[in-house]
Symmetry: C3
Subunit: 446 residues, 3 copies
């Protein structure tokens, strides 16, 4: 990693360059063929690839470890799987698509009739060309997924069914990238990395988070940033269980999912609903000029379910484009390399950068000349000729900052109240600070 000499704003042009979207997309393409699950070699191989881009601590938590109400499951690995017809042809072949096997299937190898096999087959009658994605993590079972069209062609036959998998004591693996900042208060960025061969959900976030961490690592940061690459649900539960004493350091957080499709950005608020991350996101989206949606918190979703459980209750929202479960390609073979687009990946990353830049700069100040306005003119901050109808935009921003910097309003509060963009308010505050007219309040004072 290079020396950190630039602040977050200076990275803007790099992060918004169109080539960045293609870099993220290339990483997705590399990771797509790997068969991941919530444990096992596929997950490890994925972390190995990420580690080429960013510093990553890889943790292994043994099967059987109690994590709150849950238990780390056995480790699952798979070498091969198929269904052969009586002519020995592989009519369903795991080597052709990772989704063909129900994730966490136990080993099986025997012959059976169509009737028996049928109860282990999953299809999507409404989307007859697509292979569904199914899992059975916590109940020992096996199965195959295939397109409904293919199922229709399967006649009575003696089928040879083989799943060459292993479900044994091992460990759950996760990756953690920690970027220390000026103080120990943290921003958490979490994405699940357990889905096999599904691009938007969630290789898009895995790849985008990797590049976000890579570039944040080059900046001078106020907050420390912690990126988690974890299996869904059991991963966040495991991390929270093993870091319970640490969660108080987390000031803001985002769960990233589905950040690569063509749809507009959707933000789901934290359980608190009015956390700083929620307000920051609403502000940035409102001023973005793009379509967007903001959803209230609900207890269904991805790992925000755990971060926002009542005994944890972190200010963690979820950043997506089209939310999981609301697009037809979700959890099917159609969530493929065509479904995610470089421009969308670049735009998602740029939006995250803007959010973090806002959080970095969202300080609370005390006006050092609170009784009447300071004379801006004698400091060269106000036009000399009077009588004009309007103050300039820069002057307005400074007047708002001066008027509301009473120790009770952050710059974001001021931006919201004035209906000016945060960047304009922040620029005004910087000017005033340089002229000794503002003093930063002690952290946590506002």
């Amino acid at each position: 990693m290079s020396t950190r000499t630039t602040d977050l704003s200076s990275l803007r042009s790099t992060l918004e360059s169109s080539s960045l979207g293609h870099e993220i997309y290339s990483l997705i393409r590399e990771l797509y063929p790997i068969c991941r699950s919530i444990t096992g070699e596929g997950f490890r191989e994925t972390l190995g690839r990420i580690r080429k881009e960013i510093p990553l601590d890889v943790h292994e938590v043994p099967s059987g470890t109690r994590v709150f109400d849950w238990t780390v499951p056995k480790e699952w690995n798979i070498r091969d799987a198929y269904v052969k017809n009586s002519r020995g042809e592989r009519i369903i072949d795991f080597k052709r698509h990772n989704l063909h096997v129900v994730n966490y299937s136990v080993p099986v190898h025997r012959k059976m009739s169509l009737a028996e096999l049928r109860t282990h087959l999953h299809t999507l009658p409404d989307q007859p060309d697509w292979i569904p994605y199914r899992t059975s993590y916590y109940k020992e079972s096996w199965g195959f997924c295939l397109s409904h069209n293919q199922l229709q062609t399967m006649g009575e036959n003696e089928y040879e069914v083989c799943i060459d998998s292993a479900l044994e004591n091992g460990s759950l693996t996760y990756g953690e990238c920690y970027l220390p900042g000026e103080n120990s208060a943290e921003v958490l960025i979490s994405c699940h990395a357990c889905h096999p061969s599904l691009c938007n959900d969630n290789l898009s976030s895995v790849a985008m988070a990797t590049f976000l961490a890579k570039y944040l690592g080059q900046a001078q940061l106020r907050y420390s940033y912690r990126f988690l690459f974890i299996p869904g649900t059991i991963g966040s539960i495991t991390w929270l269980s093993q870091n319970e004493d640490h969660v108080n350091a987390i000031q803001h957080g985002l769960v990233l999912t589905c950040v690569g499709d063509r749809g507009h950005i959707t933000y789901k608020k934290s359980r608190r609903g009015d956390a700083e991350i929620d307000c920051a996101m609403a502000h940035v989206l409102k001023h973005s000029g793009h379509r967007y949606d903001i959803e209230s918190f609900s207890p269904y979703g991805y790992d925000e379910r755990q971060y926002c459980s009542p005994g944890i209750d972190l200010p963690v929202g979820r950043f997506s484009r089209t939310p999981h479960g609301t697009f037809p390609e979700y959890h099917t073979s159609a969530d493929n390399l065509e479904f995610v687009r470089p421009f969308a990946l670049a735009q998602s990353l740029a939006m995250c950068r803007k959010i973090f830049s806002l959080l970095e700069n969202n300080k609370t100040y005390q006006n050092q000349n609170p009784k009447c306005e300071p004379q801006l003119g004698k400091r060269g901050l106000y036009r000399a000729i009077g009588g004009l109808a309007d103050a300039g935009a820069r002057e307005m921003a400074m007047l708002w900052v001066l008027n509301l910097s009473d120790g009770f309003h952050s710059l974001l509060d001021i931006a919201e109240r004035s209906e000016l963009d945060f960047d304009a308010i922040e620029f005004g505050a910087r000017t005033l600070r340089e002229h000794g007219l503002l003093k930063e309040c002690a952290q946590g004072a506002a």
Copy 2:
């Protein structure tokens, strides 16, 4: 009264049966001919009939008793009243309709010209077929009410005017039905029973309250329920004056009026505006699938004026269909047996049952596994095969209850926040409680 073995929910089918509407209607028909007033034999006779259905304490408060700023008036009784023309024909006859006499008219018996009589006659020029209802409780006076059409036919004549009434020291009578529950916190249901021969206002409520009490008496109840059958205004003032030390026990209350007409349900909020009864009513009406109105509190109306006076300030709302004063038949002879309908009476009663059922079950819980979600799957409460887009409705309800059961949200709060029906939330909570995942908070903790 039978043994209480069923809870309120089990009574549902009974209470919503169409035959119930007819039973309530039959009671109205029996009570309709009685000439009631705020005191006197008509009121006593009415309570006597109600007492055949439910246990009722009948209280007598002597004339002259001071009740806050008021004084219990003399008792009024009437035997006969008429206006005869010079041929001795009864052209206005109290025996034909109770409304023909101004309620609380002092005795009179003499002859007079039309001009003198005219100042004692009340009609409704805009509704020329109907007889108005008029009273003069607190100023000694007499008068007759008649249809405007009839007034038009009355020529110059020597009229014999007779009101054979008595206004003497006696007492004010009211009835009280108390159904003790598991704890001493109370639900108050109040209806005025002082109107003669008016069906919607307020025999509909008198009869519906009777059947509500009858059926609640068969249920296992958390709250105690107190039904008041009282004269309007002076009755609630008398009861509050004589039970001042007791009002703190009242947790929720409803004034019932006009519950039998064809219109939709209208709820008027308590003075507090955000009492639990207000929120419960809003929730149930919103999820009812029927049209409804909710009105803010105002200090004009029926006995909620007293229950919601600033020094009493009870959480008492008013439950009506079309509110009094807003339908033309109000306080006229047209508020008759045709004007109230069995289906409407049954629906009003069912809605009250639903409200009370909600209040009975609106508890506040503490999630016993607040750090991350509990593993519902291992308890058989979550589907085994993962990867589907949606959680089922039952699972969503459980997730909401778990997420918000932090001791600060009642089940109604959770229903409102989740936009799910209270019954679904309550069912989810019951399931979780049975699995040891919820514990009820001490009462009053939320």
Copy 3:
């Protein structure tokens, strides 16, 4: 000043008489020709004229006095100014219009080319007939203002430029009219009086404030009233700086600007946003039957900028018709005697009277019979015949006052909650008070 024998309401007919609009207008006409600035003889002459109408303390603050972050500037006076062409003709002549000279121009007297002169000339290309108004208070400079059409006619020439002004140590002058009331809590009315030959901004307010003070001086008042006639910005800063210990007495305040044009009334809320003056203004405007606008506070504007600076934070709003800066005539020669209208001046004054009348009467009461309603009938306050659908308007107002007079609701709160006009509520309260049913709460109790 005459003896104070009438209360504010009785002055109503006087204040709304159409002749009053003409009286205010006449004063504007007298003051229009004077060349005012933020200091100097023009300002003193203006105060001298106002002093013929109302008692006025005139204060002189020496140049160089420190006032918070500012310094009282040198005093500016001007005798003559012109630009002559080579034929000795005055082509720009201060004697024809005060706006021809940039206010606070330093002395100059020499010949120059058009090119050199041009950098000192200000015009309005978009309004080619009008002369702009420009100032240079805090940077030593000189200049002329003229119509753009006139500028177009000025060819190459040797111009004789003369500004016969003086910028020397002297003082800043302001006027203060204090009307003592029953108690020392104050209402502040502030208007800037520093603009030369501009009618709406701000002679309209100077003249209207004069007549408002004149008539308030005849009334029996609860509050004390303080009227300030000050130079803009530096005047309010100076006053606040010299009266810092006194500002706590100010309970309500208005900055008056642009109160004479044909547009509708616009109120700009105080920084607090929910001060009593803000609520009172919103109520009165809502019930006025006229068009109006209410704006949120912003830190740009007139002297409310200083009164609402964070270290002062007084409940001072701004009362205008069309706000300064939003009409094309603003700060030009077109803001002249045609631009302000007597009817508008009279209406603005009537609205201010209504606001102050509300504030005078906006007391908080305690219902002396809070348990159930008092029996209004026995006091002659309620109709004798019952059974009617509606209470009268007077009865409704009394019921609202009784219901909400719990020591926590002012009469304005009650008017807002009941959606009745303040005057109706106040009349109801007065009636109840006269019957011993209300008692005023100690000031500051609500």
